[in-house]
Assembly symmetry: C2
Homo-oligomer: 298 residues x 2
């Protein structure tokens, strides 16, 4: 299969859905809606929503009824980037090569745009509209998986430990790095795959296999991210290179070096591929995506 064409097609579906679900800039309060859209349409790779779509397709789901959850996931991911970039957090001026939200709209608007994106995600996940005909119990389960993955026991917990680990130097240990990886990035990526499986109608055994795929792909993604922060091309990655080391961040590379980190990413990819063995041709996008995650340059 042609992965670039697949990613492009899915990105267009996700972008169209996001445009439909986000409040219009013409509506009050204009600047809030403008800030929300600025960060959503800032050239993200849409990895999480595309994994959700691919997981749904891998179990035979084909309908557009997954797009509400895919859009909500991208809103949550985007809010986390806006807050992460704030002066009190990572203090980043650039994201994907463009000025960050607080540089364009000011800190207060950036904080509130993040808050609004997170809240709108849950408004969408709990919308009983007939746009998407998902059984209420299933819709609740989907919303709950995403909320747990995004909260104190998931992404936010990972962000806090990541921040607290800065400047840890020799104190860095593998349990801390693994906590950060499984929570900060891993939780939402795993949730994406799990939600795709549920909405696609996976049986319990297939759900478990895909959940494991999501876990492994999420870990591989974060290690690849850490590697890119060392060896990436700044113009391609779109953010400062070397910032993890400058901040003394707890990364896999800091702990084991580049070569060992790349081996670990490759190993995780192979394990992720194994979980898909029983799924046949329909899981080909999931296979190619985990290859892409480990080999990506941005």
């Amino acid at each position: 299969m042609d992965l670039p064409a697949y990613l492009k097609r899915q990105t267009t579906r996700v972008d169209d859905a996001l445009d439909r679900f986000l409040p219009d800039e013409e509506r009050m309060p204009h600047l809030l809606h403008k800030a929300m859209r600025y960060s959503i349409f800032a050239g993200g790779k849409r990895i999480r929503p595309i994994l959700l779509l691919a997981a749904s397709e891998a179990v035979g789901g084909q309908s557009d009824r997954v797009l509400y959850a895919a859009s909500a996931l991208e809103m949550i991911h985007t809010y986390s980037l806006i807050h992460d970039d704030l002066p009190a957090m990572d203090n980043d001026d650039l994201r994907r090569g463009r000025p960050t939200s607080h540089k364009v709209f000011g800190e207060a608007h950036a904080i509130l745009a993040g808050d609004a994106l997170l809240t709108e995600a849950f408004a969408l996940l709990t919308d009983p509209g007939d746009d998407f005909a998902v059984a209420p119990a299933v819709q609740l389960r989907v919303a709950n998986i995403i909320a747990r993955a995004a909260g104190a026991a998931g992404m936010v917990g990972g962000q806090i430990v990541d921040m607290e680990s800065e400047g840890g130097g020799d104190e860095l240990d593998l349990p801390t790095v693994e906590y950060i990886h499984t929570h900060k990035t891993g939780a939402l990526i795993r949730a994406a795959v799990e939600v795709g499986a549920i909405l696609g109608g996976a049986d319990q055994r297939t759900f478990k296999a895909l959940s494991r795929y999501g876990e492994l792909a999420g870990l591989a993604f974060q290690i690849a991210d850490d590697i890119l922060d060392v060896v990436g091309d700044q113009d391609v990655v779109g953010k400062d290179i070397g910032s993890d080391e400058a901040r003394g961040k707890a990364t896999y590379v800091a702990l084991f070096g580049l070569s060992e980190a790349q081996s670990r990413a490759d190993e995780l990819r192979d394990m992720a591929l194994e979980t898909l063995e029983s799924l046949g041709e329909k899981a080909e996008p999931l296979r190619q995506i985990v290859n892409f995650i480990v080999a990506r340059t941005s």
Copy 2:
């Protein structure tokens, strides 16, 4: 009825539920959980969750199954206070007489504690656990009402317009003040009453009456808040007095003066009481609460 005893009893129920639903400080990440609990247990009046409980009782609901939604509402209210107090927003050092979250834990932890409270609220609202036996479709509707009330079309929208209105001086107009009132505070108070009505099993006509009660009580609450910012006792209110005027905020008092603002609050209270006429003795707490809202001193 004895309103102080009623408020005290309901506050204890809400506090116990919040303690049960919030992550333990002993669990990692400790400082995040500590910051979440610090602001939740900072002496808030619990107006929103108590209105939810009172609305449920007004239509005959008596069970504890409303406590999950009451707790989620208070988490959302508390997150909004934490973010509102940040240096980039209102830059307040005191809240209810205690140092604000960012003064105690630092800005980054305050931002993330707010994010975590908002997310945990939705984890709770969508939890399919058998602790509370609410039908999935009803639970979804409840979560959706709260998400809409808290987001860009509700509370966050009101906060942004409130902030943008600062220093507006002679430009302040009634539509702006009303937008702020109905969105910033009104939306969540109305949602509290609506959710109580739904979980208590209200029929459509009673739901509409209670929704109107919530709308009116929310407006009265915000006008009373604006009045307190001028005439309140700083030690009793627990935050700086006169800060609205110093910032040139768009308030009802700034537009019409104290006397007219008090008349308007009284008028809204009377209208709110009218909506309860068909509800009899069981709605007595709702009657007393709207009296309290308009006459309160803190």
